[in-house]
Amino acid sequence: MAAERDNVFPTRMNLTVTKVRLRGAQTGHSLLKRKSEALTTRFRVILRKIEDAKLKMGRVMQNASFSLAEVAYSTGDISYQVRESAKQATFRVAARQENVSGVLLPAFDADVHPGPGQFELTGLGRGGQQVQRARAVYTAAVTTLVELASLQTAFVILDEVIKLTNRRVNALEYVIIPRIENTIAHINSELDEQDREEFYRLKKVQGKKKDRAAAAQALIDQDAQHAIDDGSLPADSAAARNILAEQVDQDIIF
């Protein structure tokens, strides 16, 4: 995995581009890491709250169903009557959104309309107090339920988002950034290689030129020697020859 790199042509331009990408990836990584930490903190808080709410709910629901048993004891079966006389909800749930580090969490609010409600006269002759108490207890129970629902939804969504963020963080940390770094190293090494090749080539060209120049000089010296030997040229004249005048170097063009 670590050997992986992007398939780019090793040029200086690509090196610059890749370096920009590396910087981007690093910034992204640190940002996501911070987001993930913020979410995790929030997650822990919610987790604690859920635990409390669940324990509370167990208690409250037990109370609630028990108060219903009390109603059954003193009033008898009133379920049908209550069901029919309930026309308007006195307990409503309002949903809103909460923003936690860019994650939209739905939050539910219980909206209880105060007042005795529609079946306030139920159990008028017997057990009315128990009925009203059961109603109050159940209202409390449903409030707890709504609270718990809100927390639980937040929990699920946060869990998802945290997993997603962590996945991204890890991908950046262990895949994307090493790969970009590899790419940069690769480009650098390729460029170095190219530099070395170029240098060697120049050296070679220069060496060849030097050889060639030496061979030409040797030829001239030989001719001059022949001429001296022939006597067509005096030895000292050869020695007093103006070298600068007769030797014309070729311009070196790279």
Binding site: F66, A69, Y73, E84, T122, L124, G125, G127, A136
Partner: protein, 355 residues
């Protein structure tokens, strides 16, 4: 002189009812019931009581609702046996007892009709003791108007309806007010009937019914605090009988809070002891049964009165008393069952033991 001829018609039935009374669950049995850990244990304990036969064929994890249903079946079976063997005037007395259940059933059907439900389903929910012949016919009526004009006049409750309600009232009044109005008329009628039966039925039943009337009066007063029920309407729901009629009733009608009710009740020796140590304010939090409520005291007093009815012979009150005791017993059993199934064993003791 009643005593001479009493056994001609009622001797057998009285014997039966006293036998039923001996079948009521006793205090040691209640203790055994409260010791149960599971519903199956409870069922095992109940197998030795009168309910045993009715619980026999239920599949094993028994719910409290089935328990209620089966116990009620047991009650109904015993009561119907009495009814089948009764001759005038006991049969009439027994019919009177069932009128109270009829009122509940009719109210149930009216509720269904008002909300345009299919009332056939409701027939199953009706209390079996309150069924009467034209009951299924009630389901035919689709509007309250029809219900009133065609069907209600044939029912035994027709008199109560005619006296205090018009067809328009059925549509407009709160169903609870209708129920209480009917019940008030029923109580008054029943009381008058019992007084007509002569001693000792008159005195025995009189005491029980007067207490019942007082209890309703107090309950209606307490339960109407903070509701839309006006004081005039409240007064109209009070039965016109009872130990507190008329003097204390007029004062209760004007009462605004619990303390005033308490002050009024304290003037009556029979109720003074009841309200001592009772928290009249309904606690808002869940565990309201820690202290005995007024309702519990009323239940206790009712049981006491009904037990007293068995101390005398040659009167019809035993039938009524037995039924009330049996009902209380079913409530107790169900209460214990609820406590067991909901694992609230600390509150299991707040039933009202009979014997």
């Amino acid at each position: 002189m009643n005593e001479i001829y009493f056994n001609v018609d009622a001797g057998y039935l009285e014997g039966v009812v006293r036998g039923y009374r001996d079948g009521l669950i006793t205090a040691p049995q209640y203790l055994n019931l409260t010791q149960c850990e599971t519903m199956d244990d409870l069922r095992l304990q109940l197998a030795t009581t009168d309910y045993g036969a009715f619980l026999q064929n239920e599949p094993s994890p028994i719910s409290t609702s089935t328990l209620v249903a089966r116990c009620t079946d047991a009650l109904v079976a015993e009561f119907q046996y009495l009814q089948q063997n009764a001759a005038e005037p006991i049969s009439r007395f027994l019919d009177y007892i069932t009128y109270g259940y009829m009122i509940d059933n009719v109210i149930l059907l009216i509720t269904g009709t008002l909300h345009e439900r299919d009332t056939h389903d409701l027939l199953d929910k009706c209390h079996p003791l309150g069924l009467f012949d034209s009951m299924p016919a009630l389901c035919v009526a689709s509007t309250v108007q029809e219900l009133y004009s065609t069907v209600m006049v044939d029912s035994p409750l027709a008199g109560y309806f005619r006296e205090c309600l018009s067809a328009e009232d059925l549509n407009e009044l709160n169903i609870e007010i209708i129920r209480n109005t009917l019940y008030k008329a029923y109580l008054e009628d029943f009381y008058a009937y019992c007084q007509g039966l002569g001693e000792p039925t008159a005195s025995v039943m009189g005491e029980i019914l007067r207490f019942e009337a007082d209890r309703r009066t107090v309950n209606i007063t307490i339960n109407s605090f903070g509701t839309e029920l006006s004081k005039d309407d409240r007064t109209r729901l009070y039965p016109r009988l009872g130990n507190m009629y008329p003097e204390a009733q007029t004062r209760l009608a004007r009462a605004d809070d619990m303390d005033q009710v308490k002050a009024i009740l304290e003037q009556y020796s029979e109720y003074k002891s009841m309200i001592v140590g009772v928290s009249l304010h309904a606690p808002a939090d869940g565990d309201g049964r820690g202290a005995q409520s007024l309702e519990d005291r009323f239940f206790g007093k009712e049981v006491q009165l009904n037990k007293d009815a068995f101390e005398q012979q040659f009167h019809y009150g035993v039938f009524y008393s037995w039924l009330r005791l049996k009902e209380q017993e079913i409530r107790n059993v169900v209460w214990i069952a609820e406590c067991i199934s909901q694992q609230q064993k600390d509150k299991v003791g707040s039933y009202t033991a009979i014997y």
